[in-house]
Amino acid sequence: MAARTLLLLLALLLMLTLALAPLVGEASIRWRDVFGAPSLASRLFWEFRVPRVGMACLAGAALALAGCVFQSVFRNPLAEPFTLGVASGASLGAAIGLHFGWTGIWLGVFPALTGLAFAGAVASVVIVWSISRLRGSGSVTTLLLAGVAIGFVCAAMILLLEFLSARPVTNEIVRWLMGSVDRTGIDGLRQTIPFVAVAAAIIWYLHKSLDLLMMGEFVAAGRGVDVRRTRAVAYFTASLMTAAIAAQCGPIAFVGLLVPHMMRGLGGPTHRHLLPAAALAGAIFLPWCDVLAGNVLRWRSGSALQIPVGVVTNFVGGLFFIYLLIARREDSVFVQS
């Protein structure tokens, strides 16, 4: 498919998503309720549904962008925003907050749990990077392995905190680890937008360098890319953007794996088209996953129980992972030097 056609189609689908997704839920809302006289339906729409869909769009776009960056920087189709321990760090931060009861509001505006999750994510990003530098070369393989190792360490500490916590707190930790876009409302959306906007601008600035990095380190350097600096900027930018999302939503896995891969297949690997296509597709995919997660039990059995969106993305992503393993084409595989 031509890249421009794909972008146009995705833009239309995003508009449809923004128009329709907030209307779907336990209480059905119609457009005339929203713009008519103030009512319970209009309050529900503006105060709950819009921030929820907005956060899903933002998180989906950010995670897809970060996925593009990690897959290009590591030249590995299985790299995604959470491969490098960002989610594990955020989860550990949140688990510490929940275990010790630090769940209030900092400085009158900022939820402590979000702050702790963000601090945990940033700490893991810095530790992973530092470990890779200790080895001297800072190679992508060391970086990936350091991320996996930090993920294991964080997972062990989270298990310990779950074991030591009272049952209700353990439940809260487990619930947080499932990933959800309905926790922080409009304030969470406001806090996250600047991170994503700045990070997206930096990533866009790097789009030609990312193309060349996918062609190999020597090729990129030979064409004029400062490989070490570009990789560092891309890594920290995508990681901090992921940290901002993980702090608000918890770990929502696989969006950053699945969406870039699909968009690369549909519109080609050039980042000039891939980045906007992935951002748009992520902003479409996650809200509908959330709609499905929030309503599937009601549709099936009339239950008001809402499944966390992380369960749906993990399920879809897991199936996609299997598809990748079985049906991958030659040009869908990156070669790791």
Binding site: M215, V219, G224, V225, D226, G268, D331, V335
Partner: protein, 256 residues
């Protein structure tokens, strides 16, 4: 104006690959590097392209150490064609050629008329016009080799460094490559090529640098190198040296 290795020592994975190697490539000069496997040919080329650091000695571009040039500046003067492509195979040929203009463009700029003109010229020169919409993964090794050569030419460098450019090419394209490189040299470009085939090196003519165990074993006109003593001294095997009536040069073949 020159690209120079000045008594360089290069280490890779804790092993010293090059020791006290000096080489000066003047503007418009063509030189071939030969030597047995593991002699350090690719390492020397990477060091001259500024892609590997030197442990001792200096690599200089126009009398200024390469370490003081930015990568973008180096890429405007020196283009490197790798032996193998290890990147994503889903790029189209035109995308690979377009990306080679990186050093001449602002990071956010789209292609200008000059970029399009250079890409069209070099894809035609390397006979890639029919392959321009194909992805790298669908090309043969020889076709890929032509794409990397075209991409290096799209970079408009003064120094063209080629790591075994004929390794996967058939006879027709070897002839095309030799013709292309001669043409580039006549336009004032300097060429440094690693050649396993000594007859291709001889066809390119000019100067030959032979490496053995990380040191320069010979540096001089190629006709001087094509004798039994030099050849067996560098490669450790005897050679047949043939004079072909009507041909302007000698041909060499290892004894098997």
């Amino acid at each position: 104006m020159s690209l120079v290795a000045q008594n360089i020592e290069v280490r890779r994975t804790a092993r010293t690959v090059l020791r006290d190697v000096s080489l000066r490539l003047a503007e418009g000069e063509c030189a071939c590097i030969v030597g047995p496997n593991g002699a350090g040919k690719s390492t020397l080329m990477l060091a001259l392209a500024g892609l590997l650091p030197t442990a001792a000695g200096r690599a200089l571009l126009d009398d200024r150490p390469l370490s003081r040039w930015s990568r973008r500046e180096i890429a405007r003067h020196v283009a490197y064609v790798p032996q193998q492509y290890e990147g994503y195979p889903g790029f189209r040929v035109r995308e690979v050629l377009a990306a080679a203009r990186f050093a001449h463009q602002h990071p956010l700029a789209t292609h200008g008329r000059r970029d399009e003109q250079v890409i069209a010229e070099q894809s035609a020169a390397c006979e890639l016009t029919d392959l321009i919409e194909r992805t790298i993964g669908t090309l043969s090794t020889g076709e890929r080799q032509k794409v990397w050569l075209a991409a290096a030419l799209v970079q408009e460098p003064r120094y063209l460094l080629l790591d075994e450019p004929t390794a996967a090419l058939d006879a027709k394209y070897v002839a095309l490559l030799v013709r292309l490189l001669r043409e580039q040299q006549s336009r004032g470009r300097s060429i440094l090529a690693i050649c396993h085939d000594l007859n291709v090196a001889a066809a390119l003519g000019g100067r030959l640098v032979a490496l053995r165990s990380g040191r320069v074993a010979f540096d001089g006109p190629i006709e001087q190198f094509l004798d039994a003593g030099h050849l067996s001294g560098v490669f450790g095997v005897a050679f047949h040296i043939c004079e072909v009536p009507g041909a302007a040069r000698r041909f060499v073949f290892p004894e098997c």
